[in-house]
Amino acid sequence: MKGSIMPAEATAPVKKLRTRPFKLMKRNWDLYLLMVPVMLYFVIFEYAPMYGVQIAFKDFMARFGIGGSPWVGFKHFERFFDSYYFERLMLNTLGIGVYELLVGFPIPILLALMINEVRSSKFKRTVQTVTYAPHFLSTVVVVGMLFLFLSNTGIVNQLLRLFGIEPISFMTEPGWFKTLYVFSGVWQQMGWSSIVYLAALAAVDPQLHEAARVDGASRLRRIWHINLPGIMPTIVILLILNVGRILSVGFEKVFLMQNELNMQTSDVISTYVYRTGIMGAQYSYSAAIGLFNSVVVFVMLVLVNWIARKVNETSLW
């Protein structure tokens, strides 16, 4: 299946492509019919909210609707930048993003490199089956498990007591929030994220290893000089995506782990948008914050992609 990509693309008859557009469209009218519900979906559920984002520059009033509410320029943005929350939200969002990148990004690569070295296929399969499993648990369940294990009566504090250490209220202690967030993420996703690298490793030419072995290269050297460069393009692509999204920390997990006591370190942009927008009904203000966030994420993605293309000649587009 892998090898057949090129031939399949190449066999698409060139002649057909040169046919007049109108003729093509007439012949394939039913394909356009198929696209109708698809385009409707994207217009309604993706592009209509983008149109609706203009309320960030307006004072949204339900009776006037999105189009009819009065323009107010950058008022809501200014209010956000001047607000007490701005600094805290940016620091937390960025802090979690960077922490997650530093810890969560390299671990799957290491895991894949290690799994690739295992000769016993039974052990290999076991490691894969087990490490992929947590990926399928819902965020609610994973956070629920955190609460179960880390509560006052949970197993972790029982263990601490056994060693005579005072129990720690992990889930309400602001200092623990980011660490718990990042490492529970690693626990849940490291196996799953390693699949992509394993796929790339499977494509590394075995002859390279053979030749290096003949030349007396040790195992570590072969990993370093053959396997790592072999998966470098994959690493770069994923790094671009991850760096670009450093400020788009997901809503669900932060929200679930958040409580009044750890707010100081757990409040991020998306949870603040939820609180002020959905709960507090300050639609325009929260839409402005959301838009600010999406724009920053988008710009960063483009920027990082551009840098990667200059430096490495690998890029998303």
């Binding site: 698409a12 698809v38 399928f136 819902s138 179960l148 197993i155 040790s218 959905i278 999406s294």
Partner: protein, 294 residues
């Protein structure tokens, strides 16, 4: 196989050791939940359970199945998952097939329109207002319609259509007078069982585990999916407990709830556990196809 040097053997042992550590770290919490769910709640609270269950009993499971909220949530999640997945499959196929065709005029433009949504979106609040204006708040549609097409899944499916089904077959069918829709239903779909399995699993697990859309769009308790109920029992409860003072009645209450919590984690994941062998096989395939393209 060339003989390994001593250094290489050492490296291998270190790797096997590290992977074993990873194995234990990942599997231990899961095993602990299973053990605790069939144990005496007092033993859990006293911290007497480390790996094997103590005071084996299934009371917690009985309690879970007697809890009306959980039953209702389970039923709702089932409905949302089935309806949502059917919509997902139809819509994703309807998008992926035309876009897989080289002779589909305008595919580049449409592709751009679709892929752009992966990188930029209106955000939570405009989306909420939209759902509100469509009068879908507090209905199943708010949960199943937004996200009817995952662009990423669409790309995976399109790649499969392009790479695994020879274009010649479609061409000859077309020459024999078969319409495009005929080609799709009679040739493409029968040849696409593996990718459809991947899609069913991707989408179904997504719906099963979905939480955020229900949180935002649903306020009616009768419509809550399982994950929202789970949050109430596993998370909100816990915070309340920590905040309140411990006395005797509370301890009895805590014991009841404590055992139930572990059991509910298991019950909530039963469908996923049953599917796991298929999940693993096909999901990995899906990620590979995605990786190939990306």
């Amino acid at each position: 196989m060339v003989n390994q040097s001593r250094g290489d053997r050492a490296v291998e042992w270190v790797i096997v050791f590290l992977l074993s550590v990873v194995l234990v770290v990942v599997i231990y919490p899961l095993l602990y939940v299973v053990s605790a769910s069939v144990s005496d709640p007092l033993a859990i609270l006293k911290g007497e359970i480390w790996l094997l269950p103590k005071g084996f009993n299934l009371d917690a499971y009985v309690k879970v199945f007697n809890n009306q909220d959980i039953i209702k949530g389970y039923t709702n999640t089932f409905i949302y998952t089935i309806v949502g997945t059917v919509i997902n499959l139809i819509m994703t196929t309807a998008a992926a097939y035309p876009l897989s065709r080289k002779d589909f005029y305008g595919r580049n433009v449409i592709n751009l329109i679709i892929v752009f949504t992966m990188f930029f979106s209106g955000g939570m609040v405009p989306m909420y207002l939209l759902v509100k204006n469509l009068h879908m708040l507090n209905t199943m549609w708010a949960v199943v319609l937004p996200g009817a097409i995952s662009v990423w899944n669409m790309v995976i499916m399109r790649t499969y259509f392009q790479s695994s089904i020879p274009f010649e077959i479609q061409e000859s069918a077309s020459i024999d007078g078969c319409s495009n829709l005929g080609i799709l239903t009679r040739i493409i779909l029968p040849l696409s069982a593996p990718i459809m399995a991947v899609m069913v699993l991707f989408y179904a697990v997504g719906h099963w585990n979905a939480f955020m859309s229900a949180l935002i769009y649903l306020t009616d308790r009768d419509k809550f999916p399982l994950q929202v109920i789970l949050r109430e029992i596993l998370i909100q409860n816990q915070v309340d407990e920590m905040a309140s003072v411990v006395d005797d009645t509370l301890i009895q209450y805590m014991m009841d709830v404590e055992a139930l919590k572990y059991a509910i984690v298991i019950v909530a994941n039963i469908p996923v556990f049953i599917l796991y062998p298929f999940l693993q096989k096909y999901f990995v395939k899906g990620v590979m196809i995605g990786a190939l393209k990306g």
